[in-house]
């Protein structure tokens, strides 16, 4: 589903990603862990189409399509969703409208009819219940004045409504209390299916107790330095990152 080959990327002239290879197949859950500043968010943002990162080498294919040629909104319509590490606040744009515009844009791209008000509302209600979102949050501006945890929950709520095929979750667990973590994990697991995939960026095993990954990768200094099964995360939790050998520099 997602094939990243030898991805190099710069920001403001400095190379941050030094050749990433990653293959995610439908139905799989991959976790990416790694020290602060190692490039995890950079990778996530590049997948979503952020243009401040310059891809200097390598390819990203999504279902065989060259992702790097698509605008962010086209990627979203193709089924990619990024839950941001730091969701922005957008004063004046209502959460509900925003979601409706997003959903209809995605449906239109897929050649589906726009949802009418009733259908939209019932979908939103269902997902609100799933994520424990209050009516009050829905009526406010996008993320405006939301607590850190509420913003993260809102990301997953949006994901649930848009039902993407590849969800990239960038530290969605940070800022969530224990109960919220379970609710959010539950929301993510509800999306799991044989034709979908999930890429979870996290620092903590805690999340992976709920969203159990098939593969765990360690990203350090812009490279994937180790990959393994779900036990790798436990090992990391115990020992930190220092025991992993840096690969010989290229």
């Amino acid at each position: 589903m997602l094939e990243i080959r030898n991805l190099h990327a710069n920001v403001e002239g400095a190379e941050i990603l030094h050749g990433i290879d990653l293959t995610v197949r439908a139905g799989e859950v991959h976790a990416i862990m790694g020290p602060n500043g190692s490039g995890k968010s950079t990778l996530a943002q590049i997948i979503a189409g952020r243009d401040c990162y310059e891809v200097t080498e390598g390819t990203i294919l999504f279902d065989g399509k060259n992702l790097l040629e698509l605008e962010p909104e086209e990627r979203a319509c193709e089924g990619i969703f990024l839950a941001f590490q730091y969701p922005v606040e957008i004063p004046g744009v209502s959460n509900t409208y925003f979601l409706k515009a997003a959903l209809n844009a995605v449906r239109k791209y897929r050649g589906e009819d726009e949802l009418d008000a009733v259908e939209f509302l019932s979908l939103v209600r269902e997902k609100m219940k799933l994520l424990g979102m209050s009516e009050d949050l829905m009526n406010r501006s996008v993320n405006e004045g939301f607590s850190g945890g509420e913003k993260k929950r809102n990301e997953i709520f949006q994901m649930a409504v848009l039902s993407p095929r590849l969800a990239v979750l960038d530290e969605t667990d940070s800022g969530l209390d224990i109960d919220a973590l379970k609710i959010v994990a539950n929301g993510v697991n509800a999306l799991r299916s044989p034709d979908r995939a999930i890429l979870v960026v996290t620092h903590y095993q805690r999340l992976l107790d709920y969203i159990v990954p098939d593969y765990v990768h360690v990203l350090a200094n812009g490279r994937i330095v180790k990959s393994g099964g779900k036990d790798l995360a436990l090992e990391l939790e115990e020992k930190g990152y220092s025991w992993i050998d840096e690969p010989a520099s290229v």
Partner: protein, 450 residues
Amino acid sequence: MTSVIENNAAEPYAAYFAGLMSDPLAGLSHAIRNLRREGFSRLEEMGFPSQEDEDWRFLNVSPIVRGRFLPPPPAAAHEGEVRALLDSAAIAGLDSYRVVFVNGRFRKDLSSLAGLPKAVFAGSLAEALASPLQTRVEEHLGKHLAPKFNGFAALNAAMIEDGAVIFVPRGGVLDKPLELVFVSVPVENPFSTHPRNLVLIEPTAQASVIETYIGEPGAAYFTNAATEVLVSEGARLSWYKVQREAQGAYHVAATQIVQERDSTVAHLALNFGGAIVRNDINLYIGGEGATGVLDGLYMISGRQWCDTHTRIDHAKPNCESHELYKGILDDNARGVFNGRIYVHQDAQKTDAKQTNQTLLLSDTAQINANPQLEIFADDVKCTHGATIGQIDEDHVFYLQTRGIPKDEAKSLLTYAFANDIVRRIAIDPLRVAVEKIVLAAREAPTDFVI
């Protein structure tokens, strides 16, 4: 005031002025004739403002001055166009009283005033002068906004022929919004209109007024309006100005509002049209315990100019004023916002807040924003803030990652910026109409407002 053209500023208007003064029908009243005379001689003395005047330094009014626009011949307007334009100015779902002017002249046949509460007056200046209100009108007209305010105000006074008068008696409540609609349609030559409006809201009375200017696209004209508003003790007035002049039109307007004690005024100005637009809005808070609000939104593109000068005078203690002005400028548009707050020595415990925010949608749009606080009392709370920004790329990206195309995302964010003002419109049908205007300007979808 200095001017480079002072000696001949009045000259193009001399013949018309003389005609007005000799026409018994246009005479209106002795007091009006005196006001005209004063206006004309002030114009001769002062000339029109030029960029050498501090308050006009960013705005080049020479196209207006050089145009030598005169009032149009009576009844030359094309009726079909008038009706079509009135229809397009109509606010869907709004039940209102309407006072309509076409090319500067009152049109009773197009106005709707049936059912106006007893003792409330709304209509033309001529009618008011022929009514028991005559002495009240003469007492106030030209007193609050004197011809000497500037050359345009002087010209307005010199050219007084018509305008709207509103009178709401003590304790009276206007049960529906009152619309003043100024329609401009093309006639043979480019022309000018000089609406002269007087509004008297008596003690504890309440009213809301929508002042609309609309012009036939392609019409060449100059609107030069002057409006005086007195809001007496304990009265409440909401005022909406909706300026949708024709693209090539010039619009200069001065509004002077005077507030007495415990009164409340909310003035909200929406400027969309016109090639060169200048608004002077002066709020004189002259009684204790009064609250004044000046809000505004202007949204311009192409080569439009929009210059807003506001002045709030706090003359008495324990009053509040709030001001929020927002501008959205695209292409080569230019804006000026000059917000002066003048706190007199007497005005202790004044609470004044001014905010000015500008969104620039292109690299070539320009804004000059200038807050001016002059404070002569020592126990006051006065704040001001001005921001100038562009659309936040992080916001655009966030919306894009949810499937919303870039252009639509930008429209949405532009609307969200404007919405701070739009949502303050308390008359629902008007708010919906303004939303549509704003959205049409950005070609954004229509239902995302909060």
